[in-house]
């Protein structure tokens, strides 16, 4: 190939990259931009800058439905994060530290939630909880409200597939841990629990933080599974979806800006932690 055509090709490649990133960024930038437009609809022409849609009477913070949705999402995401980290850590220890018959099959099953579409996961949990409720009522004559669609089911449904992600991240970190350190600590007189809290868990901390953030964000923005299991208290994504179908308003843009900012901050933290993690790794070689 001639020098020239190589150059042309490289130029086209670069141009493509520019277009690509524009494609990625434009929708988000526009959503954010129209949160500050002083017009009742998120559309051109530009009518001047305003913070009305954040702070005003009709702004996000005054919108009870959105604020409730935010609260619900926050509590569900916190709960899901906690559960996923806990079970993910236990799973990591099980798969990385123990050998037992059927381990391969169990590992495969652990991965399975990744290949079950979210909608299907949602409806199957819905059906199962219905069956359980009916079963309990039929056998014991007790009406159980707890397994009706609602926040418990939403939490369980999200937990069902996010745990796979935390398990994978934490396992990967645990695999890199130098077990000799644990033996050394044990030799110096530490109990198993002490070894865990002073060495192993601190080592896992970066993975716990970043997979915790991932779990939180996945839960917060989950729609497919949540949609099938939601009851009367709706998380933010569901509230937003309903509002969107009724018509776009700049308040929705304002919420979006808040969401973009929040995820930006969380992702930054997670990247920072991973970077520190990486530096630590380099040093301990």
């Amino acid at each position: 190939m001639s020098q020239r055509s190589v150059k042309v090709l490289a130029g086209i490649h670069k141009l493509y990259i520019v277009f690509f990133f524009a494609y990625l960024a434009i929708p988000l930038i526009l959503v954010a931009l129209f949160a500050f437009n002083d017009a009742p609809y998120p559309a051109l022409p530009w009518r001047g800058f305003t913070l009305e849609w954040f702070l005003g009477n009709k702004g996000v913070f005054q919108d009870e439905r959105l604020m409730d949705g935010l609260k619900v999402s926050f509590s569900v995401a916190s709960m899901v994060t906690f559960l996923c980290l806990l079970i993910g850590t236990l799973n990591a220890f099980l798969f990385e530290r123990r050998s037992f018959p059927g381990k391969g099959i169990l590992y495969f099953l652990m991965l399975a939630p990744l290949v079950v579409p979210g909608v299907i996961l949602g409806v199957s949990i819905l059906i199962f909880s219905h069956t359980l409720t009916n079963g309990i009522e039929g056998f014991l004559g007790i009406e159980t409200e707890i397994l009706r669609p609602g926040l418990l089911l939403v939490t369980l449904g999200q937990f069902a597939f996010i745990t796979t992600v935390t398990t994978l991240v934490i396992s990967a970190r645990l695999r890199k841990f130098d077990r000799m350190q644990e033996e050394a600590a044990f030799d110096l007189g530490a109990s198993h629990l002490h070894v865990l809290t002073t060495l192993t868990l601190p080592y896992l901390k970066p993975a716990l933080i970043s997979s915790g953030i991932v779990a939180f964000l996945m839960s917060f923005e989950n729609f497919n599974t949540t949609f099938m299991l939601v009851g009367s208290d709706a998380p933010l994504t569901i509230t937003l979806f309903d509002s969107l179908r009724q018509g776009a308003t700049p308040v929705l843009n304002a919420v979006s800006v808040l969401l973009i900012l929040a995820s930006g901050v969380l992702v930054a933290i997670s990247l920072f932690v991973q970077k520190v993690d990486y530096i630590l790794d380099e040093h301990s070689k």
Binding site: M1, L9, A10, H13, Y16, I17, F20, F21, L24, P27, L28, L30, V31, Y41, A43, L44, L86, I87, N91, F93, L94, R98, L106, Y107, F108, L109, M110, L114, V115, V116, P117, G118, V119, I120, V123, S124, I125, L126, I127, F128, T131, L156, F159, T163, L168, E221, F223, N224, F227, M228, T237, L240, F241, L244, A248, S256, L259, S263, G264, L266
Partner: protein
């Protein structure tokens, strides 16, 4: 250590995993399966049978949507691969140092924002009173606003947008590990760019391609938001049928049959994809 103690230990550690897998994955999916073979014959009275599947096949609207969804998902997956590959290659092999990590992070960022927000952005741009129409009219390219939403092409574009991350990341990871000297050797031996691509880069990137395609295919097939928000009545997605059966038609049995079909097709295609490219699920996913 005591053998018995060790067994207990493994058992205790495995208990949460088993509870999770059995109660939230296996039993619900089995229930879905069972439910799909139940026919309603009266109020609260069911019989075993294939009626739900027959109903599915007898209603062209259902199975046509089904086939359309699968085909569209395959096309969207291929298109995502096509769009993502040059980007991943650029990040992994052309960009250097800070630019490289910055581009990579920039690639990730949009996807941590809710899919809803992303689609909302596209709606602002593409709807009848949207920005695109505004500009096209300003430029006198059109006189009447065009509705860009609710078209197949728009849905396709939105699906690609939503899926990109899951393709770019695994591709960057495998391409990062590609030894540059291999490419140089190939160039040196007189192989053109295309030959390098076909003989070296793509075979090397295969695990990443497979894992990206599986993720994207799964996500597209099971997509609901993008398909509903950007697509309209004419470009219905199969998940919408399932949702309707459960939430508005209140025909859970038919919904289960549809859900089960979707699960079977997606698992089968994933399996086929792995089989054809000789990859293993647990390798691909980690």
């Amino acid at each position: 250590m005591n053998r018995l103690l060790l067994k207990w230990n493994v058992g205790l550690l495995a208990l949460p995993l088993l509870l999770w897998i059995v109660l939230l994955i296996i039993l619900p999916l089995s229930d879905l399966f069972i439910s799909s073979f139940q026919e309603k014959v009266g109020v609260g009275v069911f019989e075993w049978g294939l009626g739900n599947y027959q109903a599915f096949l007898q209603e062209p609207f259902y199975w046509q949507t089904f086939i359309r969804t699968v085909l569209f998902s395959i096309i969207a997956t291929m298109a995502t691969l096509g769009v993502a590959f040059p980007v991943a290659y650029y990040i992994a092999k052309v960009a250097r140092g800070r630019v490289k990590s910055m581009l990579f992070v920039l690639c990730l960022l949009p996807f941590w924002v809710s899919e809803l927000v992303r689609n909302y952005g596209w709606m602002i741009i593409l709807r009848e009173s949207g920005l695109l129409n505004h500009f096209l009219m300003k430029l006198n390219l059109i006189t009447q606003p065009i509705e860009f939403l609710y078209r197949d092409a728009t849905v396709m574009m939105g699906l690609i947008y939503t899926s990109l991350l899951f393709m770019v990341v695994p591709l960057v990871v495998v391409l990062e590990n590609l030894d540059e000297s291999l490419l140089e050797a190939s160039d040196d031996l007189g192989g053109g760019r295309l030959i390098s691509l076909r003989r070296i880069i793509i075979p090397h990137a295969m695990p990443g391609i497979v894992s990206g395609c599986i993720m994207v295919f799964m996500l597209t097939l099971g997509n609901y938001l993008t398909a509903t928000l950007l697509g309209g009545k004419e470009s219905l997605w199969f998940t919408e049928h399932i949702y309707n059966q459960f939430m508005t038609r209140w025909n859970w049995e038919l919904g289960s049959a549809m859900g089960f079909l979707l699960l079977v097709v997606s698992s089968a295609l994933v399996w086929l994809g792995l089989r054809m490219t000789g990859q293993k699920l647990n390798k691909v996913m980690t």
